[in-house]
Amino acid sequence: MVEILTSQVVSGLATGCVYALIALGFVLIFKATDVVNFAQGEFVMVSGFISYTLLIRGGLPYWLVLVLTVVASGFVGVALERVVVRPIMDAPIFSIVIATIGASTVLRSSAGILYGYDVLPLPTLFSKDPVRLGVLTFTAMDAGVIGSSLAIMLALYLFIKLTKTGMAMRATAQSQTAARLMGVSVKRIFSLTWAISAGIGGVAGVLIAPIIYLDPNLGFIGVKAFAGAILGGFGSIPGAIVGGMLLGVLENLSGYFFNAGIKQVSTYILLILVLVIRPSGFFGAAPIRKV
């Protein structure tokens, strides 16, 4: 049934775009600071709650909520970086990772205390009604998610490639020392990276919370995005994006052809295969091993 297949692919792409955004957040921070931020998923969750508060309890118009949420998420990211990461920047990487794990627990339980662990629906700008276009069946929601995600990714790409700050970010990612020598304030770049990363997580949250309902445990979606990032190649931005999208589509297709269990696991089987055959992922460059 071509129709069903295509609808699966499209909805898979939609979820995949969200994974891609989160994966992007992971990779940005990783490239700049070598840190794997386990609280990335929680940025998504926090933004979901912020938008919920502004929209439902504050009654603000949707577009305003969107902007405010992304900005607020950015602040959360910076706050996290300052409080939890910067003090131990020189410590072993593992310790920083644990710090982010602890931070994710704090964020999650705070949300739980403030909002309860109940599941909350979030209204969305896009309708969930089906739309037919030839053999394609999808919802306006799917299209909206894909469209917004691509727009954000494009914006980010342009920012990094064309602006001065973007260049500073790239320089820092390549070599902190060299960047410093060139007058780049590495500390500010770090904060900025975390802010952008959290902001992107914020966008992801606004896009996905209406689909999968909001609750403090929403952050666990970060694990999947993480896998997607690895699949595509953790060191590269396009890799993370493609990996995330591929993940979304693959999940849907394998869920369709097999059962729920295989669906979950198919990604990881693929992942292991990819890692064994090509350790840096589909797009990653082979890491230069310093002796």
Binding site: S7, K128, P216
Partner: protein
């Protein structure tokens, strides 16, 4: 400053060890003193079914608070100790041990979750702690002997009712099952399979999902392909709305119907127009219906938990606790585990004030009520669509 905090952290770990060693040697106490009865509950307060856990606990506490304010049962106040197991069996085991060994509970009451309660079943039996009215309607609690007793009709019973309704009244033969892939979902799913066989039918599709799954587009696709006219949902409150939404997105509109866990306002809140026409089985009245008992419920909830919305979830905990209190009343002042059991078993045709009667179902079927009725989502509310029916005993064979 760093030094101090570092020292403090180390010290607190040591203190923790010492504190733990605190208790005396184990006693065989029953949790009953002159003034007080201690009962325990394992709940999910922060995990996948937190909505049920938080509400059940509140419902129970509402009853106990009222009873305690009036002086308790036979002069004893009821103290409920609940720990959070996050719907994870190993935590449930640890919490159960803590409740039994440390807190010396009299009985385990309303323990939430099928896999979680299953994990502690043997332990409770071994320590002779009664498992009273667990918050899970899996059939095993009804047929596991004197250590366990359920309160309401099981998922198996309810699924039998669903199937009979679909086949006999709606004349639907193409029935599919959407079920949670664990002990909870399997109970109803397998019972349904057995009942279908008795009607000389079989599921046209059996589609499962994992606890905490959020995307069902592939399940929706499979269901559509099977051509099922009705889909039985062995799920809770998150999955039905999402499944319905995704089915509708691919142009598939079957009749959705499921047992009591889906009959919650949350389902409607999440699903919006997609759950219009969804049907369910409920085994006790809706919180908004008239009647003396429900008036009392509404008053108690308002008094003790004004911020909690009235919902089938807290009513579930409430009725459970009320039943327990009745059992305690009948047990008399000399309260032991045996006298409580006898007290509960003596309940026959007892109506707390809402038209339904509780009756002990006998040693082969340790449950207090077998009624159920169908409800449907109409105009954004669960509305009754049949009268109370005495459910047949559903089984998996």
């Amino acid at each position: 400053m760093k030094r101090l905090l570092g020292r403090a952290a180390v010290l607190s770990v040591l203190v923790g060890v010492l504190l733990l060693v605190g208790g005396g040697p184990g006693w065989a106490e029953e949790g009953v003193t002159d003034k007080e009865v201690v009962i325990g509950a394992g709940m999910d307060l922060t995990g996948a079914v937190a909505n049920w856990g938080v509400n059940i606990k509140s419902g129970m506490e509402a009853v106990f608070n009222r009873v305690n304010e009036a002086g308790g049962v036979h002069g004893r106040k009821i103290r409920l100790i609940a720990y959070d197991h996050v719907y994870q069996p190993p935590k449930a085991v640890t919490n159960a041990k803590r409740l039994v060994e440390r807190d010396h509970i009299f009985v385990m009451m309303g323990h939430l979750g099928t896999p979680t309660t299953k994990a502690i079943k043997e332990y409770l039996e071994e320590r002779k702690v009664p498992n009273i009215f667990p918050s899970t309607a899996a059939s095993m609690w009804v047929t596991s002997g004197p250590g366990h007793i359920g309160d309401l009709a099981t998922y198996a019973d309810q699924t039998w009712m669903i199937i009979d309704y679909l086949v006999k009244e709606k004349k639907i033969k193409k029935i599919a099952s959407f079920y949670q892939d664990d002990e909870y979902g399997l109970d109803g799913h397998l019972a349904g399979k057995a009942r279908l066989k008795q009607h000389e039918l079989a599921y046209v599709a059996e589609v499962d999902y994992k606890r905490a799954d959020i995307d069902f587009s592939s399940q929706a696709a499979k269901l559509k392909e099977s051509g099922a006219e009705a889909v039985i949902l062995q799920a809770v409150y998150r999955e039905p709305p999402r499944l319905a939404e995704q089915c509708h997105a691919i142009g598939y509109h079957p009749l959705f119907i499921g047992p009591s866990p889906i009959v919650v306002d949350k389902t409607i809140e999440l699903g919006g127009k997609h759950v219009d026409g969804m049907m369910g089985v409920e085994v006790y009245p809706l919180p908004t219906e008239p009647g003396a008992f429900l008036e009392l419920y509404r008053a108690d909830m308002k008094k003790y938990f004004p911020n909690l919305a009235l919902d089938t979830t807290n009513l579930y905990g409430y009725q459970k606790a009320a039943l327990f209190v009745e059992g305690m009343q009948r047990a008399g002042r000399n309260l032991t585990r045996e006298s409580l059991a006898k007290g509960i078993e003596s309940i026959k045709d007892w109506d707390p004030g809402w038209g339904l009667k509780y009756s002990y179902g006998g040693d082969q079927r340790r449950v207090m009520s077998r009624v159920g009725r169908l409800v449907v989502v109409k105009d954004g509310k669960w509305t009754k669509t049949s009268d109370w029916v005495e459910l047949k005993e559903g089984g998996r064979k």
